[in-house]
């Protein structure tokens, strides 16, 4: 049951701004948006730039904005979009454009390097390893599901609208910091850095990041809020502050 669909795909032009280019193409049951982009690339626009890898929602490469919504192209089935209207596909807007649907996400890799690395305590089980209870790592495992698609960074208004890239690490790296902070083996303390260097205070918990997360990580509730609580407990709790004066 092939039908014709209309896709408006963002194309960049050398030394000019980008524009939407309209393509008409045959689509069939079960296709995802990435399939359509590939079909257009193979048949109509061989130089159309798109970043992708696994095509199964596991690598987080094909992030884009589909009809204005930040999504993975490989996990957006055509049955989820209205094909009676043209479907728009454009790059993530919170990052500098490279070409067409591809953006420069290198800022994210630089940010990660600035977060103190995992520092485990000395192994304390008789066999020279560690013991951990499953219930103590369930929360950390939730954070470690992150596929680094950066859709949460894309949708975060602190980055997208206010361009605070130099002062705020964004939801992805708050999740990363939470994964380290809540790892039962870790001995490093990142609370001061979260407050001063990583700008956790900028987040005003609008939960937009949680809504777009393709891995359904409870970014705000399980990662950011508990980290904010740690910062508050240490620096803004009146009793702690009083105690610190007398230390």
């Amino acid at each position: 049951m092939a039908t014709t669909a209309t896709f408006k795909i963002w194309r960049t032009h050398p030394e000019k701004d980008g524009t939407f280019q309209t393509f008409h193409t045959e689509v069939t049951e079960g296709m995802v948006v990435l399939d359509v982009v590939h079909k257009i690339q193979a048949e109509q626009a061989p130089d159309l730039a798109v970043r992708w890898n696994c095509k199964a929602g596991k690598c987080g490469s094909c992030s884009a904005e589909i009809n204005g919504q930040p999504r993975l192209m490989c996990m957006t089935r055509l049955s989820q979009v209205n094909l009676h209207e043209p479907v728009t596909v454009e790059p993530m807007r919170a990052f500098p454009p490279i070409k067409d649907l591809v953006t420069d996400v290198s800022w994210n890799f630089r940010v990660k390097k600035g977060i103190s690395k995992f520092k485990p305590r000395t192994p304390d089980a008789p066999d020279g390893t560690w013991r951990m209870a499953q219930k103590d790592i369930d929360r950390v495992q939730e954070f470690r599901k992150c596929i680094e698609c950066f859709l949460c960074q894309d949708v975060c208004h602190v980055l997208r609208d206010h361009n605070k890239h130099d002062e705020f690490i964004g939801p992805r790296f708050l999740v990363y910091a939470a994964n380290l902070e809540m790892n039962p083996l870790d001995t490093e303390d990142r609370v001061a850095a979260l407050k001063d260097e990583h700008g956790i205070g900028y987040c005003n918990i609008t939960k937009c990041c949680t809504k777009v997360c393709p891995e359904h990580i409870h970014i705000t509730d399980n990662a950011i809020i508990p980290l904010k609580e740690r910062v508050v407990d240490r620096y803004f709790d009146p009793i702690t502050r009083l105690l610190r004066i007398f230390q």
Binding site: D47, A49, N53, K55, K58, F109, K113, Q134, E148, L180
Partner: protein, 605 residues
């Protein structure tokens, strides 16, 4: 003369999946300068797709396990044409490599007493796979990536290697282009490690991403290295078959490890109908015993769904051909049935197989806790690859090392599930270690400008032909069709000769491909450059498969359906001969030492 930027490192690693990252970490921590080149962004390599786990005889769940059992399982799975030394090193070193990951931040699922939990998998006698739900590959790559970035290496993302350049027969450097700008770069290095993964994109139905184009295999081959075992391709028995756009995407063996069963359209568990003799003593005699095995009963034997992948894939193929398949040309994989056995089975399934639940729900609109999945074989892994020394991972070219899927030896004729991730970390580490030692002992080689210049000119030729040339996507698709139809799960000499004729024809077409536009992030140009590698590995697969006139592991010949003694002692090898002709040869497998032979014998019962 085209312009390029140049770099120089002690050790250069090509590929940033599990093996490449592990090699890079090892080399960087030994104090040499390390450059890491990857075709995608860091952390996106195909390793993320690995689901089930990494095999290591830590004996956390069953204290009968040891390296001896793991070694014997690996050799049996590989039908005894493995490099026994690699299988030995792998079995002995995997436990330390897994434990080390925990010290770098990996968070594995736990046993009730708090140790790393290990699960059952096909061909492994005891529960042996350290895992994180069904996303173990993501855990591995993220752990290595996050550890690597603090070791001082330089990562060059979205670079594709065009050619490997030698200096007097020794590995000297590579020419790359970066996708972002389409510019050339030349890397000079004292030692080079290839860790480029597999060749799945030579086939139409594959679990591999666009990156699996046999780059390392082909680069090494063109530079004069030997490839062995190229006929041994693993068709994973369970790939998705519907909808068409996701055909081939992997469905983890973990589904069967957790109690999932295979049924045909008549509702029959056909895997009980065909159990190979050498696996009979270890296989359950009825469904009840199989179920008990999946739930950790140590007195039970494993269900036939957990026989080796080559066998399960052929059984599925047979059911489909006999007209007993599912509506979209596969068979049924049912995990939902366990509701008869377990209260709260849907929560259990979602907890044990979260990615599978998610994948089917989102891509096929199917709830695996309620309905059976449709699955069929998909091209998954190549056992064959660059011939390496077992201990050092050095290829037949001095200074050129290889690790992971692009190297060959450990798996023999068939790889056991879970042995890939452990292979990556065991031999990734070794490659990094020995490459670094080599770099410390040798002066920097010279990369010839003449060779660089001619490689750059050749790679730009598609732009000169422009839109009037052949469409590279079309040539790629035609190759994939040919390999799928003629060099697939069931092979015959006649069909493979046809495949070679088509490959010859496709080579001519590939020499005429054209693209237009600018070089920045140009997928068409990239596909044009990939074709050379895909055609090389396809020819190597077909020629090796013709040479091995028997059936063994991942290589099944309808015209020679049995194992033949003559082929049990050799590996088929290919190398580039004069005038670009692919030469084929046989390399005798060194006799296995007595102490290892004994280990195999004692595990046969």
């Amino acid at each position: 003369m085209a312009v390029y930027q140049s770099y120089s490192y002690d050790v250069l690693i090509i590929g940033a999946g599990g093996a490449g990252l592990r090699a890079a970490i090892e080399a960087a921590s030994s104090g040499v300068s390390v450059g890491l080149i990857c075709k995608s962004l860091l952390g996106k390599a195909h390793t993320v797709m690995a689901e089930g786990g990494m095999a290591a005889a830590m004996a956390n769940n069953d204290d009968r396990d040891s390296w001896r059992v793991h070694f014997a399982d690996t050799m049996r799975g590989g039908q005894y044409v493995n490099n026994w030394r690699m299988a030995e090193l792998h079995a002995k070193e995997a436990p330390d490599r897994v434990r080390e990951l925990e010290g770098w931040g990996a968070v594995f699922d736990r046993t009730p007493d708090g140790r790393i939990n290990q699960r059952n998998f096909g061909g492994h006698r005891y529960p042996r796979l350290a895992h994180v739900g069904d996303r173990t590959g993501l855990e591995l790559i993220r752990t290595l990536q996050d550890h690597a970035v603090y070791t001082g290496m330089t990562v060059h993302m979205e670079h594709t290697v065009i050619d490997l350049i030698l200096d007097n027969g020794r590995a000297a450097g590579v020419l790359t282009y970066d996708r972002e700008r389409g510019r050339f770069h030349v890397f000079n290095a004292k030692a080079i490690v290839l860790a480029t993964g597999g060749v799945g994109r030579a086939y139409k139905i594959t679990s591999n991403s666009w990156e699996g184009t046999g780059d390392g295999h082909a680069l090494a081959y063109r530079a004069g290295a030997e490839l062995i075992d190229m006929e041994f391709i693993q068709f994973h028995p369970t790939g998705m078959v519907w909808p068409p756009s996701v055909r081939g995407i992997l469905v983890t063996e973990g589904v069967r490890g957790e109690g999932g069963v295979l049924k045909n359209s008549e509702g029959r568990r056909f895997m009980f109908d065909d159990i190979p003799d050498n696996y009979k003593p270890q296989t359950a005699s009825d469904p009840e015993e199989g179920w008990r095995y999946t739930q950790g009963d140590k007195s039970a034997r494993r269900p036939p769904e957990l026989l080796t992948r080559d066998h399960v894939a052929r059984c599925i193929n047979r059911e489909v051909k006999a007209g007993r398949g599912s509506p979209h040309g596969g068979v049924f994989l049912d995990i939902a049935w366990i509701k008869e056995k377990l209260k709260d089975s849907d929560t259990h399934i979602k907890r044990k197989l979260p990615s599978m639940y998610h994948q089917f729900k989102e891509l096929a609109d199917l709830d695996i806790t309620k309905e059976p999945m449709e699955v069929g074989p998909t091209t998954h892994y190549i056992m064959g690859g660059i011939r390496v020394d077992a201990d050092s991972q050095m290829s037949t070219i001095p200074g050129l090392f290889a690790a992971g899927e692009c190297a060959s030896g450990i798996n023999g004729a068939n790889r056991l599930g879970g042995n890939s991730l452990s292979d990556l970390i065991v031999f990734g580490k070794r490659a990094g270690e020995y490459a670094s030692a080599w770099a410390k002992e040798h002066p920097a080689p010279r990369v010839s400008d003449v060779l660089v210049e001619s490689a750059m000119q050749a790679s730009l030729a598609p732009f000169e032909r422009g839109d009037s040339g052949e469409n590279p996507y079309k040539v790629q698709a035609d190759l994939q069709e040919s390999m799928q139809a003629l060099v697939g799960i069931v092979r015959t000499e006649n069909e493979m000769r046809q495949a070679l004729m088509r490959i010859a024809d496709l080579k001519e077409r590939a020499a005429r491909v054209g693209v237009s536009g600018h070089r920045e992030y140009h997928a068409g140009w990239h596909t044009a450059l990939d074709l050379r590698n895909l055609l090389t590995v396809s020819e190597a697969i077909a020629r090796s498969a013709i040479e091995r006139k028997e059936s063994r592991g991942g290589h099944f010949r309808e015209d020679y359906p049995d194992k033949v003694a003559e082929f049990s002692t050799i590996n088929v090898a290919v190398r580039q001969g004069a005038g670009d002709v692919m030469e084929i040869g046989r390399i005798p497998i060194p006799p296995i030492p007595n102490h290892l032979k004994q280990v195999i014998e004692e595990q046969k019962s």
